[in-house]
């Protein structure tokens, strides 16, 4: 009897052992990353510290419960230092920032301003056909929506901290992370909203 039982248990262990490896927890994955990365150039190890947004969006694979998303979006919204007055800068500078794809990488000079890399994911000006498709098209953005103070504020805020509007958006938080300056974001607002910008032609 005993032998039979032990054989059975042994067989079960043999069959089950390939499945015995548990998926690592999020915490264990974080520990593995901290062990296996090193700071380089301007890219410090602090960049691996997940904040609440990254943790929640990782744990829920980009689909957080609505109440939690709303609450964290509100927290993110508070980080946006909306300037007063017009938020429309210079669309010509904005065009360069939108087109450029450099900035914030470990091999780059941190003293040089970062670009926005907007065209990696969005099409915007008909003059720039080689655009990515991860984000929605921004063609004619201001032409359709106008450039009211509310619209300026929305575009500024969205570029400053996209997670304030859609918690698990693929879009980086350009202002919140110090990647783009206030003046650069205003230039991008102009690029999208100024009626004379090629985006609105």
């Amino acid at each position: 009897m005993m032998t039979k039982w032990m054989l059975g248990a042994g067989f079960a262990a043999l069959v089950l052992s390939p499945l015995a490896v548990a998926e690592p927890t999020d915490r264990e994955v974080q520990q593995a990353m901290k062990r296996d990365f090193h700071a380089k150039g301007q890219a410090g190890m602090d960049r691996l510290e997940q904040d609440a947004v990254q943790r929640v969006c990782t744990a829920t694979n980009g689909k957080p419960p609505e109440a939690l998303a709303k609450s964290l979006e509100a927290d993110q919204f508070k980080t946006i230092p909306f300037p007063t007055g017009s938020l429309i800068g210079n669309w010509k500078n904005g065009a360069k920032i939108a087109w450029g794809g450099r900035g914030m990488q470990w091999h780059e000079d941190p003293k040089k301003p970062s670009d926005g890399g907007c065209y990696n994911c969005h099409e915007a000006s008909p003059l720039r056909p080689s655009a990515g498709t991860i984000g929605p098209s921004l063609k004619g953005f201001g032409k359709v929506r106008g450039s009211s103070p509310e619209m300026q504020k929305y575009v500024y805020g969205k570029i400053y901290n996209a997670k304030a509007y859609n918690l698990c958006s693929d879009m980086p938080r350009f202002g919140h992370t110090g990647s783009l300056t206030d003046a650069q974001i205003r230039d991008l607002v102009a690029y999208l909203l100024d009626p004379t910008s090629p985006v609105n032609k």
């Binding site: 593995a32 062990r35 296996d36 960049r47 065209y119 498709t133």
Partner: protein
Amino acid sequence: MRVSGSGVPLLAVLALAAAPSAAQDSQFAKYQKMTAEGSPVELFELAGEDLWKKKQGPKKASLEKCDLGKGPGVLKGAYAALPRYFKDVDRVMDAETRMLHCMMTLQGRDRKEALKRPFGNADKPSEMEYLSAYVAGQSRGHKLNPGTSHAKEKESYALGKKLFYVRTGLWDFSCTSCHGVEGKRIRMSELPVLSNPKAARPLMATWPAYRVSNSTFKTMQWRINNCYRQMRTPEPNFGSEVVNAVNMFLTVTAKGETYRGPGTKR
């Protein structure tokens, strides 16, 4: 296209591999001309074979006794069966990680010295890139069959799978930010959904590869490193468990595909 019709390209490439600094410009000009004429991949394979057999390091040894999982010196099909668990180091290694291990053990080289230049550029390719071309080329026609039975192989796959979805870095990206949705592009580059075997299979069957936009040969360790650079994270350690785990996840996803690399990429 074979280059065996003439001995000249082979000699020139061997000279390039042997002379990393002196006369770089003229060698490189020659090399560029040759690559324009023939298959650059094959030239990297030939130079890699020379480096594989070259006696180097404090032990004045070649890598010919390196065990890539099929036994010392057995290269046929070895690349296609990586990453896998190696008992002597009690961990999972991919091809480059294992070659680094062989440089340190067989050739007696210091880790820092052997890793002085893991990734090259058009002007100065890396020893690791040449070697990868040679080693991978010996797996053409073999089915991708990474290790999936040892507990550490399963752990590596499970970690790699999780890593694929981790949002991290200054810009909150995960691998899926770019490789998660079908039919998307970054600028004009199509983005394969690498968790899907349909996309992973042809891709993993053709890395490492000559990359036209870099004018040089690139490896999987480089590919993953370069993704993290663009994700604005710090740099992953060469040959680390994390990089091997991502490679393991991708290779297992592509399992069964016939290896037909090294490839040529945009």
